[in-house]
């Protein structure tokens, strides 16, 4: 197991370097005037240009620039953005909001998705099953921003059940319920369908029949024998999803005005603030990669048949 973790961690290194380099290249070295529009209507002041060129090593070849940047990144230094604010502190302020949002979303998708999936999987063909299938298909097809707007208008402005925008930071948990639902709605549909398929497949499994033949109480047959097996793919999906949710929060954060990571990066892109974009994206990539690794390890815990050596 230890050797497996080590090997996987080593495999992450090239992926991390590759992804961050890709981003770095896209952000910093495409042709065009890097300072266009940076200083209002006028062209930028030469001293400012010189300072920025110096600060981001813009005169070096791209690979060297990137390596210098990576070196600083590895010591935990995200550098400063073009307004000379430390990016580290921006991230520090923003990430709790996104993390909370992602956790709320994960909780909602896990609870509702699992419940719907279990119900329809156990009942088989019938009303609950059709309802789950149709509503999940609908959720999958609905773009997140449409769901977001619809909920914002309906619950926020019309019914006034929720505050339509979350401007506080750190965002209060209560205000994150609707945004969390929006962010998690797509994955919720997948969790429901995955659970449903998994339960429906395992329901007729031989070991379930054995448990019934043993005279185990029905609640235990379902709750212990059936669920424990059906949960394996669902739990692993939820694990990978946490990483995806962190990255997918841009649209949701934009709609509900949540000052999180997605907001930061979107702002950075619009303001052509390369240092912020590369810093935040690198961080997200790390989170995503580690989440995937954790899921792989979790898989071995959940399913004893999988062994890593």
């Amino acid at each position: 197991m230890g050797r497996y973790v080590l090997r996987r961690l080593l495999q992450l290194v090239p992926v991390f370097v590759g992804t961050t380099f890709l981003i770095y290249w896209l952000v910093w070295s495409l042709p065009g005037d890097r300072f266009a529009g940076k200083c209002g209507e006028k062209p930028c002041d030469p001293t400012y240009i010189a300072k920025m060129t110096e600060k981001f090593n813009l005169d070096d070849p791209l690979v060297l620039q990137y390596l210098k940047y990576l070196g600083k990144l590895l010591t935990g230094d995200f550098g400063e953005n073009s307004s000379e604010v430390a990016i580290g502190s921006l991230i520090n302020e923003a990430y709790p909001n996104t993390l909370r949002l992602a956790l709320v979303a994960l909780l909602i998708e896990a609870v509702i998705g699992l419940a719907a999936g279990i119900l329809s999987g156990l009942r088989g063909r019938g009303f609950v099953d059709s309802l789950t299938l149709v509503s999940t298909l609908f959720l999958i097809s609905l773009p997140v921003f449409v769901t977001g707007f619809a909920l914002q208008i309906l619950l926020g402005y019309e019914l006034q059940w929720i505050t339509p925008t979350v401007t506080d930071s750190p965002a209060p948990w209560g205000q994150l319920i609707a945004p969390g639902f929006v962010l998690g709605s797509l994955s919720m549909a997948y969790v429901a369908r995955l659970t449903r398929t998994s339960i429906a497949e395992n329901r007729r499994a031989d070991y379930v029949r054995t448990a019934i033949a043993k005279g185990q109480p029905p609640r235990r047959v379902v709750g212990v024998h059936l669920l424990r097996n059906s949960a394996i793919p669902v739990v692993t999906y939820l694990g990978t999803d946490l990483g995806a949710l962190m990255g997918g929060a841009i649209v949701t954060e934009g709609i509900f005005d949540i000052k999180g990571i997605g907001f930061l990066v979107y702002d950075g892109i619009l303001g052509k603030d390369g240092a912020t974009v590369t810093g935040v994206v690198s961080l997200l990539v790390v989170v995503y990669l580690l989440a995937n690794l954790l899921v792989d390890l979790l898989y071995a815990v959940l399913d004893p048949r999988i062994r890593y050596d």
Binding site: D206, G215, P217, I232, L302
Partner: protein, 338 residues
């Protein structure tokens, strides 16, 4: 006509009696008549082998006894399953559950899929003791080790902590047997327990079942399609064909002089050392479709002794000789060897 009136047995209610059981599978293609009046009984300390091709209804009978028949598509349309005289088919769900495991236990063909892959073998045995008997975790563990010892699994103390996939095929079936014995059942149903195993392991498992059955004076229903497996273990044999019992007899007489052409054909299709070099006999034709069972005797299209009456009249189960039962119009001829 019921079995009681034909086969002699003790007057008091037997351990298990299956009486005129009818089961249908309602599928998209039509109604398959899977069981068409199956009757047999098992006494304590007795081994009944139920023999038949796949689709003959031997496993469905067992599943109906256990109450684990998939419904739908299965529908029980008639008959009784009496355990100590109590009709289980009319019993409450709670009562049925009580009987499972502690009264009647069952083991399956493929122990790898029948054991839950994500729990240790120990957990699955202990679960019975803890949930059904209210034993403490520690007592249950102790008992689980004893049970694994009884089925002769070496290093039982370490083995309880292992998962089913870490066991070999034979060991898994032993663990399955240990689990079925946890609540000391009076009757064990073994559904093709050795089919998935190597020949040498098959013999070991059969010996183990025989030994346990004698030790515990337990009833044993051994479901198999393999006449060879049955020979040394069974006290009585019931041969099934197209959802009916076509012959029932004590094992020795059945082997000596079969009372139904189907049994005869099965025996003839066994390879024999004394007939080395001769062509192996096979049964011509295919088992009938259960959706459209032939009129008259269901075996008549494949029967070498078919006569006109077989095509029109369903042969009643009757007693061609003492202690024997056959559903062939000409059972007497067969038994007297004409």
């Amino acid at each position: 006509m019921t079995v009681e009136s034909i086969v002699d047995s003790e007057a008091a209610g037997p351990l298990l009696a299956v009486d005129e059981l009818f089961v249908e599978f309602r599928t998209r293609d039509g109604v398959a008549k899977v069981l068409n009046g199956v009757s047999y009984r098992v006494e304590a300390g007795e081994t009944l082998a139920v023999l038949g091709e796949s689709g003959s209804g031997k496993s469905v009978t067992a599943q109906t006894i256990m109450g684990i028949l998939d419904t739908p598509p299965g529908v029980i349309t008639g008959g009784e399953v009496r355990y100590h005289g109590e009709n289980l088919l009319a019993a409450s769900a709670k009562r049925r559950r009580e009987v499972r495991g502690s009264g009647i236990a069952m083991i399956f063909q493929d122990a790898l899929s029948a054991l839950n892959p994500v729990f240790t073998v120990g957990f699955q045995i202990e679960e019975q003791l803890r949930v059904r008997r209210g034993m403490s975790r520690r007592d249950a563990r102790k008992r689980a080790v004893e049970l694994l010892d009884q089925v002769r699994i070496p290093n039982a103390r370490d083995r309880v902590r292992q998962y089913p996939h870490e066991f070999s095929g034979g060991m898994r079936q032993r663990a399955m047997i240990a689990m079925s014995l946890a609540l000391d059942p009076e009757l064990l149903i073994a559904d093709e327990p050795t089919t998935a195993l190597d020949v040498t392991v098959q013999a070991q498992i059969m010996d183990l079942l025989r030994e346990i059955q004698l030790d515990r004076h337990m009833g044993l229903i051994l479901i198999t399609h393999d006449l060879g497996v049955v020979a040394e273990v069974a006290d009585r044999i019931a041969v099934m064909y197209a959802g009916r019992i076509v012959e029932q007899s004590d094992a020795v007489s059945l082997y000596r002089q079969p009372g139904h052409p189907y049994t005869q054909a099965l025996l003839d299709s066994l390879p024999r050392l004394d007939l080395k070099g001769a062509r192996l006999n096979t049964i011509k034709g295919l088992p009938p479709s259960l959706i459209d069972i032939p009129a008259g005797c269901p075996f008549h299209p494949r029967c070498p002794r078919v006569r006109d009456v077989c095509r029109t009249d369903v042969p009643p189960a009757h007693r061609p000789a003492a202690g024997r039962l056959s559903a062939c119009h000409f059972a007497e001829e067969l038994i007297s060897g004409e």
